[in-house]
């Protein structure tokens, strides 16, 4: 069933691409290409890029490691209040990032809910100004994306395939490793990508909760915001272009099927080309 889509659909898709893409084109058009090299060559920029890479990757990793079990529980374990937990998982998306940062203080700050426990148990005095704090802030806003995507993927999985594996002698972990996760791979990749992207662009919760410390918590978005505040819009734009370039390379580089479930059926167009 793949024939040339109706013109209306194509037109709407075009408008959508315009809405999402034109601002980027505008950004590129206004980019001060001559001074770009200078800005990007600055040690501070490279440092921010490094912090961004570390923080976003760590946040994505945390999101996957904690989010996968949570998604599994939400998808597979019927319990009272499941709808509530699922809604709570979405809340960090709704919270303005600044409030998110403040809420993180209330939980993990010195006087927060488990602040004392952190202090006594792990010797963590304060997370402000630490990369760990930046990672926590980024993971807080990024994890929901992974959880939602992974849960949807898990639910879409045919559980009979897992049963079939069990009847062939596969234990719980073998089923997970050889059947569930590979079948889920597209959803996991999509979720990890979404949460990585969200963590990479994260600004409000990070600057609030972890502060803006060069080399430790100053990520590219923080550096961009500061350049903007400091009256260096060119530098801000140059760094934004850097951020975009890095993202594009990563996103295009990921084999594009990762962003979408692996084909289980032949690409429809192979079977039914348009006349």
């Amino acid at each position: 069933m793949s024939r040339r889509p109706p013109v209306g659909v194509l037109a709407m898709a075009g408008v959508a691409i315009g809405v999402l893409g034109l601002p980027l084109v505008g950004l590129l058009q206004r980019t001060p290409w001559s001074s770009l090299g200078a800005t990007l060559g600055e040690a501070a920029t490279l440092e921010a890029l490094r912090v961004s890479a570390v923080v976003s990757l760590a946040a994505a990793a945390v999101s996957v490691m904690l989010g996968l079990p949570l998604a599994w529980v939400l998808a597979r374990l019927p319990f009272r209040g499941r709808a509530l937990v699922r809604a709570v998982v979405l809340l960090p998306m709704v919270l303005p990032p600044v409030v998110g940062g403040i809420a993180l203080f209330f939980a993990l700050g010195r006087r927060g809910l488990i602040g004392r426990a952190l202090q006594n148990g792990f010797g963590v005095d304060t997370l402000i100004g630490t990369t760990a704090g930046a990672v926590i802030a980024a993971a807080f806003v990024a994890m929901p994306f992974f959880v939602i995507t992974a849960e949807a993927g898990l639910r879409q999985l045919d559980p009979r395939l897992e049963s079939a594996a069990a009847t062939l002698g596969a234990g719980r972990w073998t089923v997970l490793r050889r059947i569930t996760l590979p079948l889920l791979a597209p959803s996991l990749a999509a979720g990890a990508t979404l949460s990585w992207a969200r963590a990479l662009g994260e600004f409000g919760a990070t600057i609030t909760f972890a502060g803006n410390h060069p080399g430790r918590t100053r990520t590219l978005p923080l550096a961009i915001a500061q350049a903007n505040e400091a009256g260096q819009p060119e530098a801000a734009i140059a760094m934004s272009v850097l951020l975009i370039a890095v993202s594009l390379v990563v996103l295009v580089g990921l084999r594009h099927r990762w962003l979408a479930p692996r084909r289980r059926w032949p690409e429809p167009s192979q079977e039914i080309p348009s006349p």
Binding site: R110, D125, I128, G211, P214, Q226, N228, E229, G231
Partner: protein, 224 residues
């Protein structure tokens, strides 16, 4: 300085970032065994971080009220001191497409006008100045930061904006200032040591001292 045997953590309002980067450099040059660690963000954010127990030594706020709250919570080690003063400026995009000549023109509703929200100092200042001039201006946007006002003017998206005098230079040739005449209202910036470490008081003295004043005035700040 050196391997940074001592560090001083300075939390400064974002609008002070250029001035404080210079201050820090000069301070480190004069005190080679001290490393200045800067943290720039909006005053309210910094106050929240200090309230949450951040290891800050010095807090420079763009906002007297915010400093007042930090002091009221007992987080300051010494009473705050005012160290810089800022005036209001009226900026228009280069070429002045809205043909703005003074505050009076701001009552024109067809102009896109950007000011700060009345709850933040630059907004309070703008509102007071407008009231003094008897101008009934309907702002199209009430920004929570001066730089956001400046950005809109620089991009030509706003026809006029009310910002601090120190911001005009940051607009470069993309903005032009419209003279406002003599002013009687200002916004004064307080600074306070928030830790009782000696280096905190030392840095604060530096800011309030002659070197500090010179650097601040280089960046367009007045003296309270």
């Amino acid at each position: 300085g050196g391997a940074g045997e001592t560090t001083v953590a300075v939390y400064a309002a974002a609008s002070l970032s250029e001035a404080f980067e210079d201050l820090a450099a000069r301070y480190e040059a004069a005190n080679p065994d001290v490393e200045v660690r800067l943290n720039f963000a909006g005053s309210a954010r910094l106050a929240a971080q200090i309230g949450a127990g951040a290891r800050a030594d010095v807090f420079a706020s763009a906002n007297g009220a915010t400093m007042g709250r930090v002091a009221a919570e007992g987080r300051t080690a010494a009473p705050p001191a005012l160290f810089a003063r800022n005036r209001l400026a009226l900026v228009v995009p280069a070429g002045n497409p809205g043909a703005v000549t003074g505050l009076r023109d701001l009552s024109d509703d067809s102009l896109v006008l950007a000011v700060c929200a009345p709850e933040v100092p630059c907004g309070a200042l703008a509102r007071a100045v407008l009231a003094d001039a008897g101008v009934d201006a309907d702002a199209d946007t009430a920004e929570t930061s001066v730089r956001a006002v400046l950005t809109k003017v620089m991009l030509g998206e706003a026809d006029a904006g009310l910002v601090y005098a120190t911001d005009v230079a940051a607009g470069g040739d993309k903005v032009a200032a419209v003279p406002l005449g003599p002013q009687t209202r200002f916004n004064d910036y307080p600074v306070a040591a928030v830790s009782d470490r000696a280096v905190a008081a030392h840095f604060m003295d530096f800011v309030l001292g002659p070197d500090g004043r010179r650097i601040l005035s280089d960046h367009g700040f007045g003296t309270p």
